[in-house]
């Protein structure tokens, strides 16, 4: 589904990604772990098409198409979804309008009829149950005045409604207490099918107790220095990133 080859990316002239290689197939859950500043969030943002990042080398194939050639909205319409680390507040625009607008664009792209307000509301209410969100959030402005946990839950609600093929969760666990973490993880697990894939970007192993990855990759200084199964996350938790970093540096030397 996703093939990242030798991906290099800059922000404000500084190279952050220095040759990422990663393959993700349908039905898989991948965790990308790494210390602060390693480039995890940059990878997530580059895949979603953030305009501040400049890809200088390498490429990304998504379902056989050149992902980097697409505008952010086209990527979303093709089924890529990024759950933001810092979701943006949009005053004045209701959560339901926002989601309906997004979903209908995606449906249009797939050749489906747009949903009317009633059909959409039915879907929205079902999905809200999945992430245990109060129906009062339907008519509140997007993320405005939401707590940190509510914002993250709202990201997963959006994921549930938009039904992406490839979901990238960027530090979705940060700022969540353990109960909220379980709710969010449970939502993600219920959305998991054989046909979609999830990339979980996280600093801590904690979330991976609830969203169990098939593969774990360790990102250090813009490169994946180690890949393995779910046990790698536990190992990292025990030995810390510094050991891996040192290992990586000695390899680089």
């Amino acid at each position: 589904m996703l093939g990242i080859k030798n991906l290099h990316a800059n922000v404000a002239g500084k190279e952050i990604l220095k040759g990422i290689n990663l393959s993700v197939n349908a039905g898989e859950v991948h965790a990308v772990m790494g210390p602060n500043g390693s480039g995890k969030s940059t990878l997530a943002q580059v895949l979603a098409g953030h305009p501040s990042y400049e890809v200088t080398e390498g490429g990304v194939l998504y379902d056989g198409k050149d992902l980097l050639d697409m505008a952010p909205e086209e990527r979303a319409q093709e089924g890529v979804f990024l759950a933001f680390q810092y979701p943006v507040e949009i005053p004045g625009v209701s959560n339901s309008y926002f989601l309906k607008a997004g979903l209908n664009e995606i449906r249009k792209h797939r050749g489906l009829e747009p949903l009317d307000a009633m059909q959409f509301l039915k879907i929205l209410k079902e999905k809200m149950k999945l992430v245990e969100m109060d129906p009062s959030f339907i008519n509140r402005p997007v993320n405005e005045g939401f707590s940190g946990g509510e914002k993250k839950r709202n990201e997963i609600l959006q994921m549930a409604v938009l039904e992406p093929k490839l979901a990238i969760l960027d530090e979705t666990d940060s700022g969540l207490d353990i109960d909220a973490l379980k709710v969010v993880a449970n939502g993600v697990n219920k959305l998991k099918t054989r046909d979609n894939a999830v990339i979980v970007v996280t600093h801590y192993q904690r979330l991976l107790n609830y969203i169990v990855p098939d593969f774990v990759h360790v990102l250090v200084n813009g490169r994946i220095v180690k890949s393995g199964g779910k046990e790698l996350a536990l190992e990292l938790e025990a030995i810390g990133y510094d050991t891996v970093k040192e290992g990586a540096e000695s390899v680089a030397r």
Binding site: G49, F84, I90, G92, F98, G102
Partner: protein
């Protein structure tokens, strides 16, 4: 600055006709006030861009039109169905309707107002409430510096007179609606003059709206004076929705007494050239003042707000937020002055002007000003002119929404942040709907959602 053009002579010709006709019955004090004001206007003439207060607002197009005083005898018929959509709150709404500046008692409806409230036509009230009107009228108006206010004062005749007695709380908004309709061949000028007195410990919400029933060239030159007495609370919303060929100059003069709360919101959408002067004198301690507004300009429009908040007493707070959406080849001007006098210690004042510049042919002039003479105060001000936030745009697009629709949604968001400060919910909904309609007609090319608000902000 003297002008000798034929155009300015029209105003004097009209004045003489008015003096000998419509105004002839007026009491001596009122005749004197008018005569003094026309003298002032003759002395000042129309302002030019050489004057600091008019530097960015060239009213030359206005002076080139031969406007003639709209006369009562020429009034066309306006039916209730013509104005239904402009009324907030349906059939029981408290409403004073003026057509070309003259009261229409058939369109007005005051049946829901508490009996002790005095509300009606200024012209019809001069007889019964002469002393009160004389005491307040033009008391603080800066005729010296504002020729249009002088011109309005010369033609004082009709408009709203409202007196809310001490302790009276009026729950539903009182709407003052000024409708312009074409009369004869010449373009008409009207001079609405409103006097509102809110007594001690009283409260009320007012909506003053300027509306056109056709796409005509005309000129509204209005003055509203408001007295907010001790411990009273007043919400005021002005809706300027004139024809896009019209000219609008509105002056608002407010005086607040101690422990009062005054909130004002100015929505400016219409007119070819519009100028709003809002002057608030805070003449008592422990007052709260909130002055907010939104202007949307498109095509060749020019909308100017000049605001002046005068802190004369200690322990008061003021908050001012004006936002602008400036598109096409339009221009907007914001000049906000906060004046903190030596006596006004412990003043807490904030002022912001944010402009969304949507076209490289549009121009924004903004000048926030703080003049502080007290030493123990907390005052901040700032202004921004920019485009939409890139991070927000990326977020919206990352949900599959295309560039154009994403920009439109964020523009709605930009506007909604300031209407959130309108306290009365039906009024806020009405204002929000006007904004959406305006954006859709003039600024964006996509469908827009209804504006929603989170819990009203504590202010």
């Amino acid at each position: 600055m003297m002008q000798s053009s034929r155009e300015i002579e029209n105003y004097f010709t009209d004045f003489h006709a008015f003096e000998n006709n419509g105004a002839a019955q007026a009491p001596a004090w009122l005749k004197e006030l008018r005569a003094g004001a026309i003298g002032k206007f003759r002395e000042l003439g129309f302002p030019t861009t050489k004057q600091e207060d008019w530097r960015f607002t060239n009213i030359l197009p206005l002076t080139k039109v031969s406007f003639r005083h709209a006369l009562k005898k020429d009034l066309p018929e306006v039916r209730p169905t013509d104005i239904g959509k402009f009324i907030i709150g349906g059939a029981s709404a408290s409403l004073l309707v003026f057509v070309n500046g003259y009261i229409s008692n058939t369109l007005s409806n005051l049946s829901s107002l508490p009996k002790e409230v005095v509300a009606g036509s200024l012209a019809e009230s001069v007889g019964g409430y002469g002393d009160q009107i004389r005491h307040h009228l033009s008391r603080h108006l800066p005729l010296q510096s504002h020729p249009f206010a002088a011109l309005n004062t010369a033609f004082i005749h009709d408009g709203a007179f409202i007196y809310i007695p001490d302790g009276c709380k009026v729950v539903s908004p009182i709407q003052l609606m000024f409708i312009s309709v074409p009369t004869r061949e010449e373009s008409a000028v009207s001079y609405p003059r409103n006097l509102i007195i809110v007594g001690e410990k009283a409260s009320a919400t007012f909506v003053e709206s300027y509306i056109a029933l056709s796409d005509d060239v005309y000129f509204s030159n209005s003055v509203t004076e408001m007295f907010v007495e001790k411990e009273s609370a007043v919400d005021f919303v002005k809706i300027q929705h004139e024809s896009e060929k019209a000219y609008h100059v509105g002056t608002m003069q407010v005086e607040q007494a101690g422990h009062s709360r005054f909130t004002a919101f100015s929505l400016a959408l219409g007119a070819s050239i519009a100028r709003n002067d809002i002057n608030i004198a805070i003449n008592g301690e422990h007052c709260e003042t909130m002055l907010d507004g939104l202007y949307i300009t498109a095509n060749d429009q020019l909308i100017d707000h000049h605001t002046f908040i005068d802190h004369t007493q200690p322990n008061c707070s003021s908050r001012e937020i004006f936002k602008g959406i400036v598109a096409g080849k339009s221009r907007s001007v914001f000049n906000g002055k906060i004046f903190v006098r030596k006596e006004a210690q412990k003043t807490d004042s904030k002022q912001t002007n944010k402009n969304l510049l949507l076209s490289d042919k549009a121009i924004v002039d903004t000048k926030p000003q703080l003049e502080i003479f007290a030493d123990d105060v907390k005052c901040t001000h700032g202004a921004t002119v920019g485009s939409l936030d890139a991070a927000s745009l990326f977020y919206v697009k990352s949900r599959g929404i295309n560039e154009e629709a994403a920009r439109a949604l964020l523009t709605v968001g930009f506007a909604s942040e300031v209407t959130n400060y309108i306290n009365d919910e039906p009024v806020r909904r009405h204002v929000d709907a006007l904004i959406i309609k305006r954006l859709q007609e003039r600024v964006v090319n996509t469908a827009l959602p209804e504006i929603v608000h989170s819990e009203p902000k504590m202010i």
